[in-house]
């Protein structure tokens, strides 16, 4: 990976090249994470011989970068592939195609042991604070587990580190010996955050980290994540279906639909001047918690098509109010239509 001229967004080859102005992350230089052309197609097997009869096109040519101290929000509805993107970057799932660079190093094809030093730079927080913690382990041991694997510490040193982590995320030292069931949902998510922080990672992937929490608790965890970013220069890939939460926490946002990024820009632009019809539809569909604001609602019709058989051309054309003949045939490339604003639509 060459340090200079790292395009923030690498286009898939078959598409028309964008203008030569990369999106600048807040911090310049080598991005912490660079994903290009990432694809994951899950084979669908059927019959006695388990023959592959088709593929689920979960992720199909996704590219983005995340700079140091930056949060990239990844939004989309269920089945759009946002979770698969997160898990592929973690190498919990092997990608079908594309590359993943961490700090400029290509980690896409590294084996388990080779990947290990990079693995500690990269942590994940899961959605469900109930199923992502081992119910038979004490909270302190859950948080200390990554330290046990990656760092040679004495038991006392480890305990010291864990208790510092507990305090950092707003839990009490005394709670280290409790079991997960003794914590509330919000506290469990704090344990998940402490575990993710244990190895001082550069990038944390949050896969719907606040979606299972009550709104009053959600705010606590969002504020915690933002404080940690400020203090520790963390980068986040924040995956969520909640646009308001994503807007609050992100610097830039990528909108996914059926395995592809359809719009990618900074958050102010996305929310004030969305260009893709799907982004428009998403924004229009969010209920506004203020009865004084009356909006004319244009509800987009229809369901999300199956990723097993994504529609040809633009994948949104089946629901798009503006769709034309070519939208049904040609795949729109993700183009940079203005500085830092990328859209995959023929009409914009």
């Amino acid at each position: 990976m060459v340090e200079t001229a790292t395009p923030a967004l690498v286009m898939p080859k078959r598409e028309t090249p964008a203008r030569e102005t990369p999106i600048e992350a807040p911090a310049l230089g080598v991005p912490v994470l660079e994903v290009s052309g990432l694809s994951k197609h899950f084979p669908v097997r059927k019959g006695v011989l388990r023959r592959t009869v088709g593929h689920v096109y979960a992720v199909d040519g996704v590219s983005f970068t995340i700079g140091a101290g930056e949060t990239l929000g990844l939004v989309g509805e269920s089945g759009c592939g946002k979770t698969t993107v997160g898990r592929t970057i973690m190498r919990l799932i092997e990608p079908t195609a594309g590359s993943i660079h961490l700090d400029g190093h290509d980690v896409t094809r590294l084996g388990k042991t080779e990947f290990r030093p990079y693995r500690r730079q990269l942590q994940i927080i899961f959605q469900d604070p109930f199923s992502s913690l081992n119910p038979r382990k004490r909270a302190g041991d859950i948080v200390g587990e990554p330290l046990k694997i990656h760092e040679a510490l004495s038991r006392g040193e480890r305990r010291e580190r864990v208790s510092a982590l507990f305090e950092r995320v707003g839990l009490r030292r005394a709670q280290m010996d409790n079991f997960p069931h003794q914590f509330s949902g919000g506290q469990r998510q704090r344990i998940g955050v402490a575990r993710a922080l244990a190895l001082n990672p550069k990038l944390i992937i949050g896969d719907e980290p606040v979606s299972a929490l009550d709104v009053s608790i959600q705010a606590q965890v969002i504020n915690l994540l933002m404080d940690l970013q400020r203090d520790m220069k963390l980068s986040y890939l924040f995956i969520s279906h909640n646009l308001a939460v994503v807007e609050h926490i992100s610097h830039r946002i990528a909108v996914m639909y059926l395995g592809r990024i359809v719009e990618y820009t900074d958050k102010v632009t996305l929310f004030t001047r969305p260009l893709h019809p799907y982004t428009e539809a998403l924004l229009a569909a969010v209920p506004v918690p203020d009865p004084a604001i009356k909006r004319v609602k244009r509800v987009v019709q229809g369901d999300v098509p199956s990723p097993l058989k994504p529609p040809p051309g633009c994948r949104f054309h089946t629901r798009c109010p503006y769709a034309e003949a070519r939208c049904r045939v040609d795949v729109p490339a993700l183009r940079e239509v203005e500085r830092g604003h990328h859209v995959a639509c023929h009409l914009r």
Binding site: E77, V215, Q218, P287, V288
Partner: protein
């Protein structure tokens, strides 16, 4: 506002009030568990005007779903039991009916849509048959007529190819379709009251918008009164006319939707409103501020103190709050709240 009625729910309303299709008075549903007595719903009263939409908001464990199940008399006994109060549907107290009489009313005059359409539909029964079941049972329709009506209902809720879909099973439908089918089932007998318990929480936001629009449209056409149970203040603001806020099994605030959002009087309501991030297009001010947290957690419903249940999380709490639960009072015209300090809090927030 036509939905607000002369008789308020907390003064003992006469059973014959004509403008209210449903009146709930001092409902108490307790659960007798090994961990002790859980007062899931503790003295909740409200009334629902004909054709209106009432939202019940609150976080998990506040008792909103148990309230709904109590109205339907679907609380599992044991461990749960409705130990007091009245639920009057057009003057008839449902809590006094025997099970056979209740079965005639349930799904017929008062019906319910649940959060998770996959688990609340019967997986081994066709959609058409499931919708028709209520019609055969309650309206003594023939199988054939019931199926015909089921297909009409599917069409009404906007399912394409209704004849085909009626023959299919729940797993063949998408999440949004299943919720439409649930609504078709709930409305098949043209009930007077529809209870929707988080009807869109499991759905994607574009599908949520479709379903909410559908409920509003059917309500206009059929004149059904709706109780919408949700944790989403955005959904409340866009669909309800009147709002009840619940906390730890009790009603803490009630007002029209405009009044509640403009002047929340209970610190919990205020906290909820400040803790949700808002999209730029909904904000008055530029830039994003730090979210306001409500410290602490929702209290366990067993062993609730005599004091105000919100006091441990409230910035305004004093000894009075920690000593006694505040009375539920009309603080402004038709705006009710249970808080010792609501006037001071409202002044402070606006001034």
């Amino acid at each position: 506002m036509s939905i607000q009625a002369a008789t308020r729910s907390d003064s003992a309303a006469p059973a014959t009030a004509t403008d209210h299709v449903l009146e709930v008075e001092d409902l108490q549903t307790y659960f007798y568990t090994r961990g002790g007595l859980v007062k899931a719903v503790d003295g909740v009263s409200f009334s629902l005007a004909r054709g209106a939409t009432l939202a019940i908001v609150g976080e998990s464990g506040c008792g909103k779903s148990v309230t709904a199940l109590s109205l339907m008399r679907l609380v599992a006994d044991p461990p749960g039991r409705i130990i007091g109060g009245a639920v009057r549907l057009e003057g008839v107290d449902l809590l006094g009916l025997d099970e056979a009489a209740m079965r005639d009313i349930r799904g017929n005059q008062i019906s319910m849509v649940f959060q998770e359409p996959m688990t609340s539909l019967n997986p081994v029964m066709t959609i058409g048959r499931q919708i028709g079941e209520a019609l055969i049972l309650h309206q003594r329709m023939s199988n054939k007529a019931a199926l015909r009506r089921a297909i009409e209902m599917l069409q009404l809720v906007g399912i394409p190819e209704p004849e085909q879909r009626a023959k299919e099973y729940p797993h063949q439908l998408s999440g949004g379709m299943r919720q439409r089918a649930m609504i078709a089932m709930a409305l098949a007998c043209n009930p007077k009251v529809l209870i929707a318990d988080e009807p869109t929480s499991a759905l994607d936001v574009t599908i949520q918008a479709q379903i909410l629009e559908l409920i509003a449209k059917l309500q206009r056409e059929l004149g059904t009164a709706v109780i919408l149970i949700t944790h989403d203040l955005g959904v409340v603001a866009e669909t309800a006319e009147r709002v009840i806020v619940m906390y730890a099994g009790r009603k803490v605030e009630e007002a029209s939707v405009g009044e509640l959002f403009a002047r929340p009087l209970h610190p919990y309501t205020r906290g909820l409103m400040n803790s949700i991030p808002r999209l730029a297009l909904m904000r008055q001010e530029a830039g994003q501020q730090r979210l306001q947290e409500i410290p602490g957690i929702v209290p366990a419903l067993s062993n609730l103190p005599q004091a105000c249940t919100f006091a441990p999380r409230c910035a305004f709490a004093d000894d009075k709050c920690r000593g006694q639960f505040p009375p539920y009072q009309e603080k402004r015209p038709d705006h009710w709240a249970a808080c010792w300090h609501s006037e001071g809090i409202a002044e402070k927030a606006n001034g």
